[in-house]
Amino acid sequence: MFFKKAKSDENILILGLGGVGLYLAKRLVSQGYAVTVIEQDSKKIAHADGIIDARILRGNAMSIDCWKEANVENMDYLIAVTDNDAVNILSSIIADRFGIPRKIARVRSLELCTGTSVLNMEDLKVDLIIHPEELAAQEIVRLVKRTAGNEIIEIGEGQMQVMATRIHESSPLANKQLNEISQKYGDLFFRVLAIARGTQTIIPGGTNFIKPNDQVLIMANQQALVQLMELTGVKRHNRHRVMILGGGLIGARVAELLGKSVRVKLIERNDYDAKELSFALEDTEVLHGDGSDAEVLATAGLADMDTFITATQDDETNVMTSLLAKKLISSKNPDSQAKTIAMVNKEEYLVLSSTIGLDIALNKKILAGNEIIKFIRRGELISVAHLHGFDMDIVELQVAKGSPISKTPLKKLDASLNGKILIGTFFRDGRWKIAMGDTHLQAGDRVIAACSSKMLRDLQKLFLS
């Protein structure tokens, strides 16, 4: 057993130190929560013990003695993310008996807690059910439907949008200082929230430069976003020809969700699974073959595709086939705007994605972890969003009466917060306004801000009375 003293007043019990459990433990500890983890596998414990400052108990998730040792009666949240659906569900019921107020369970089966299920969430005592594969499928569908492969999220009840896009050498924003950009495009309602450069995420001030290859996070209203997309060379066009490699939970679900509105081809290696899928997916053309083979891809009509998605169980197959597909498409059609989306389990491939040439790499454990954090945070903040590739959160908050931020103009805030927290826009008198140094926030203003996960609590404190 390993013991490390917790340091916060909000207590979270995590069952399972797999991919999602470890990712959550890391992020929640960095946000100041007191995290206790129960895990049976000593190898996973040894690995995690060097990485996270959490209390880790070795034991079975179903052992009541272990729960008692974890001081279960003091817990505010249970997050059950073992690799066993039944254990996760049963844990929620046990947690309810112990009086844990909020329970979150990871479940792979889509048959639990849907409209037609025999048991509902109340029966199972669960407040949030997380389906990582479903989240990944929904994310892919969103990316396919929304833009040319750049990430866009909505915030402020859809009135503001945040776009992540990579800056090319020829972009008019490249090698420009932010002050210069805001002067030149002063009539556009937008704000650069963050710059991801290599492994670093920078929360910029007016003197920062945007460099070629930077990935920038831009917040804008709908009208400005369209103009900014033109400016940064992002073409918005509807994708209507999609090829998916791998008919597992994610691939099949993406085909199911897209099939009605988009032409979808799915390549599955396993003969039996391909036959099953061809019956189940009425609107999808299911092909049997080894999709990592260039000839198979060409025969399947890869050259005509707008989006190529790799969703097999194997990271390397997904990465290599995405790169192969990109090469094959551009050799046939050099002007193609086709994008690739690769599912990867190893976080290392997210770090390597830009240098090895992937357009978009998605990691389902990060998607699941973010959804859980959003749920935990929802009681405290209006909303929290997190974008792949940026070590930061975009947060919507409301200014409380007497809060520190309402007492002084933004430029007079504690200087140590510069580069750590950015107040982007605020909503007052029925409209959104860009926050400037002279802006003096008032109680009741709704604000969209950006900060690293580590600073989330400090940001919140500024808004509380």
Binding site: G198, T199, Q200, E316, E348, Y349, V351, L352, T355, G357
Partner: protein
């Protein structure tokens, strides 16, 4: 395969020097020739330089992973160059690089080179590991340290 299995002590250099990306690549290939039997090192150097023109392999935080496939090698080789002061490698974060991991894989390596790159990233993305590596006194220390982390 573990990262240490691609490594050899003779392929680790602690006092990397060089004023440009080209010089660093050249130095790394020179180190490679000590650990692998290479008949045409110029060909490997050219492939590496061509690869860098497509996209820099300096991924930031002081890390660079130049890589290529070549018929000159019959297995994956990794050589390491460390520079305490850091050298400009046109990295994504525009900061000097301290850790150069040259990775050369055979043409038919399949996904092995990807897995090896991922192992390198897993090792050096830890701030403490990078700090520790900068304090190593000998190639043997680096080799033993990497082995201890696996």
């Amino acid at each position: 395969m573990k990262l240490s299995e691609y490594l050899d002590e003779s392929g680790i250099v602690l006092d990397m020097t060089g004023g440009s990306k080209s010089e660093i690549l050249s130095k790394l290939v020179e180190i490679l020739t000590k650990t692998a039997s290479i008949s045409d090192s110029a060909e490997i150097l050219k492939t590496l330089e061509d690869r860098e023109k497509l996209k820099t392999t300096g991924i930031g935080s002081g890390i660079a992973i130049p890589h290529c496939k070549s018929a000159e090698v019959d297995r994956v080789h990794v050589v390491i160059g460390i520079s305490k002061s850091g050298i400009d490698f046109e990295s994504l974060d525009r900061q000097p690089a301290n850790f150069f991991f040259l990775l050369v894989a055979p043409e038919n390596a399949g996904s092995e080179h990807l897995k090896a790159s991922a192992k390198i990233v897993r090792l050096v993305r830890d701030d403490q590991v990078r700090e520790d590596l900068l304090t190593m006194a000998s190639p043997k220390d680096v080799y033993d340290y990497i082995k201890s982390k696996e």
